[in-house]
């Protein structure tokens, strides 16, 4: 029996992928199983072997960066069957959202998506419910189980060890979804998985003023985000819109400047561990959901905060 973890390894192994491996190895340790990683990407053997630090015993690597969700499903289910895997773990990232449900169907496995903590011994898994206003504990009743892990749910701890890397080049059939125009990897931090997020709203008055937001994000190594009116007005790209109809995020730190905190916005960010709110209006509803509040003008406070972050030299 084994715990199988699928991760992407395109241009390296992202933090949320390390987290998924660590999550899988914690379950494996609890149930006396070993952790096997299956991955598709282009990363070298040393990078993959280093996943041993997070508990992986073996890494099965398919060198391909253009597999569609059906090809990835075949890869994961074939490897799961060969290795007698009773638990399959994904990160709840773009690939996890596309592939994990298919794998669950093919393995006739119960599936819980967006786990925010390790499961109990009987595979009861905690997830967010009702726009982050509550938690739901869901039990997986089947013998084979699939769990996708919400990014930033647990801190992966690097230990000792290297994993054996095994190249896999099985025939996965033809892709039925063809990528015509691939996005350039900008090196920017992807918002859904970001640990730190700096966000701004209409209080910034116009897109030309976003430099002070980007400066702070750069100083912190954070992703940038925005409120719905800002996305709708086209001041920022639509994928930066966090809130009920944009992206729901759960970073360690969410800094919101010039956002009043409508309930639809809170629904997308209320699972952030620490919330800092900067607003000129002391009555802004967002302060009620904040851990730290600053009543002040974002145009003055943000540059001061950026300077303080730089001075602290963290």
């Amino acid at each position: 029996m084994s715990v199988l973890v699928y991760i992407d390894s395109i241009n390296g192994v992202a933090k949320n992928a390390q987290e998924a491996v660590f999550y899988g190895s914690k379950i494996a340790a609890e149930h006396g199983m070993e952790t096997i990683v299956v991955t598709a990407g282009n990363s070298d053997n040393d990078t993959l072997s280093a996943l041993g630090q997070y508990g992986a015993k073996k890494v099965i690597a398919h060198n391909n960066i253009e597999l569609d969700s059906q090809q990835l499903t075949k890869l994961v289910t074939d490897v799961a069957k060969e290795n007698n895997s009773s638990v399959v773990i994904f990160s709840q990232d773009l690939t996890g959202k596309a592939v994990a449900p298919r794998v669950a169907i093919r393995l006739e496995a119960g599936f819980v998506s967006g786990a925010i903590a390790l499961p109990s011994n009987d595979f009861t898994v905690k997830v967010n419910a009702f726009s982050g206003k509550a938690y739901c504990n869901m039990k997986i009743n089947s013998a084979t189980r699939v769990i996708s892990v919400s990014p930033n749910s647990l801190q992966p701890e690097a230990g000792e060890g290297t994993a054996e890397v095994q190249a896999e080049s099985c025939d996965l059939g033809a892709s039925r979804i063809i990528v015509k125009n691939k996005v350039e990897q900008t090196g920017e931090i992807a918002l859904p998985e970001a640990e730190l997020v700096v966000s701004a709203g209409r209080g910034l008055k116009g897109p030309e003023n976003w430099g002070i937001v980007e400066d702070l994000a750069k100083a912190l190594g954070a992703a940038t985000a925005c409120s719905r009116p800002v996305g709708d007005a086209g001041w920022r790209p639509h994928h930066e819109h966090v809130g009920q109809t944009g992206v729901a995020i759960r970073p360690n730190l969410y800094i919101a400047a010039g956002i009043s905190g409508a309930i639809q916005h809170l629904a997308g960010v209320n699972q952030s561990k620490v919330i800092v709110v900067i607003n000129t209006d002391p009555e802004a509803p967002f302060f009620k959901a904040a851990d730290y509040g600053i009543v002040g003008d974002a145009f003055e406070v943000l540059p001061r905060l950026t300077a303080a972050v730089k001075a602290a030299n963290l």
């Binding site: 206003k133 009743n141 994928h239 302060f287 963290l314």
Partner: protein, 246 residues
């Protein structure tokens, strides 16, 4: 062009959430339900736009009880042609996906559209499951969709931005912001919705692969600590030393 749009309900965002029976059941008293916005604003409206441009029909499918019919009628008022209600309480995503695929498997839909996730659980499970059950390609998190004959050009979210992909119909597509704009039903639509077909179909039996054990409320926030806007060093020190997030 035959389009199926999967519609689920969510409690209105302003609803106060509570539980009964020792926190094992969601307390529906006083809850106002809406169509899950991702299903309504993006998937349903896109389906209607495609029908308006290419001809064909838009059918909605909902797994729910008679209590859900007001939300189903709203989808008809926005512009769907007919609705199907699978007569059962939705217990988990697998149950819902099994009902939808069972209904759709012999109906030759060209497109199955649904929202990228519900605002309740943000689970993003049903689309991929339906696609697998029907052995159909699945494009998730689509923000743009254009049809050229039986070829679909789709812009979807990718790591670091958007990418353009192509696939042949039939497809299952989950819709995100950008796909379409919310439509408010007008009086004519609301009147027409009353006479549009709403077919009730019996559910098929499905194993409960998961079950809800109970619900918890998050620990209340300890209250906001106000920081002097002239003292950002204090904030940085708190975030670094106390919260350990930077």
């Amino acid at each position: 062009m035959k389009i199926l749009v999967c519609i689920s309900k969510s409690p209105d965002t302003t609803s106060k959430i509570g539980f009964t029976d020792n926190n094992t059941k969601f307390d529906v008293a006083g809850i106002q339900y809406i169509i899950n916005p991702y299903d309504e604003w993006y998937a349903l409206v896109k389906g209607i736009e495609l029908k308006e441009a290419n001809g064909g029909s838009v059918t909605t499918i909902t797994v729910g009880t008679a209590a859900d019919e007001p939300t189903i009628r709203k989808a008809l008022a926005i512009g769907a042609d007919e609705a199907v209600r699978i007569d059962a309480e939705a217990t988990d995503a697998y149950f819902v996906a099994m009902q939808i695929s069972e209904y759709a498997k012999d109906k030759a839909f060209d497109l199955i559209l649904l929202g990228k996730e519900t605002i309740s659980y943000n689970g993003a499970q049903v689309g991929g499951m339906v696609a697998e059950l029907l052995d159909t390609p699945y494009v998730s998190l689509a923000s743009k969709l254009e049809l050229n004959g039986t070829t679909a050009s789709i812009t979807r979210e990718a790591k670091g931005g958007d990418e353009l992909v192509e696939g042949n119909l039939p497809l299952v597509i989950s819709a995100a912001k950008g796909m379409a704009e919310q439509r408010i039903p007008n009086m004519r639509g609301i009147m027409a919705a009353r006479s549009k077909p709403l077919n009730v179909v019996a559910a098929v039996a499905v194993d409960a692969l998961t079950s809800t054990v109970n619900f918890e409320m998050p620990a209340p926030k300890s209250g906001v600590k106000m920081i002097d806007p002239n003292n950002m060093d204090e904030l940085v020190a708190l975030l670094h030393n106390e919260e350990k997030v930077i």
